[in-house]
Amino acid sequence: MQWIETEDVVRFNEVDEWGMAWHGHYMAWFEVGRMALLRRFDLLPKQMVELGYVAPAIRLTCDFKHPAGSGDAIIIRTTVAKPEIAALTFKFEVLLKNNRTLLAHGETTQVLLTTEKKMVYRFTGELERRIDRLVHFCHKA
């Protein structure tokens, strides 16, 4: 499985009273990784809307393994699972940059709706082509 890596830094305002990166911020870092991946395949939210779709998240999981502190450089790794159904599941890992300690890993699942808010049961047309390219990239040998 191929992952793309994006770098970020834990900001002062992202740590809690105990000096650890607050758990909710990992969702924002997942989003940074997802956007970096989607940008490569012309699947950014605005581009999805141009195709006539929106992709709300319906599930999110995250396991926290190690704390990060203010100023720590982090790496966000992102990939997408092979879709068995008309939904996209992204997988994420957040690592410390200096020694690649795993801080957290998680998943999000998004379904596709048309901009008229009707659920999409199968990927078709240009949407299918772009998703195929994304999935192929993440699963090429």
Partner: protein, 93 residues
């Protein structure tokens, strides 16, 4: 399979088993699924991701494509509605 499709009672039983297996409904038995109750929300309580899994199962088993939510709303109205939908699609094909 043709014999099952042409017999509404058998088809309903088959579909109940398919739903339980596809969605891994461990606490639900075939007897728990009412033939005329809604499958989603207030009935069996299925959700949107369940619909996507059922769409794939129906395509694999019956080679019937449920294109979108408009068709799905009709097909998934109840277990009986799903059986009727499958019988109609097979008659037309």
């Amino acid at each position: 399979m043709e014999e099952i499709i042409n017999n509404t009672n058998k088809l309903c039983e088959f579909l109940k088993r398919m739903i339980i297996d596809t969605l891994r409904l461990e606490d639900i038995s075939v007897e728990d699924i009412e033939t005329d109750a809604p499958l989603f929300r207030e009935g069996l309580g299925l959700d949107s991701i369940d619909a996507l899994e059922l769409v794939v199962a129906i395509e694999k088993i019956f080679h019937i494509i449920i294109e979108d939510e408009d068709v799905g709303r009709k097909a998934f109205a109840s277990l009986r509605a799903l059986a009727t939908f499958i019988q109609q699609e097979k008659q037309e094909s």
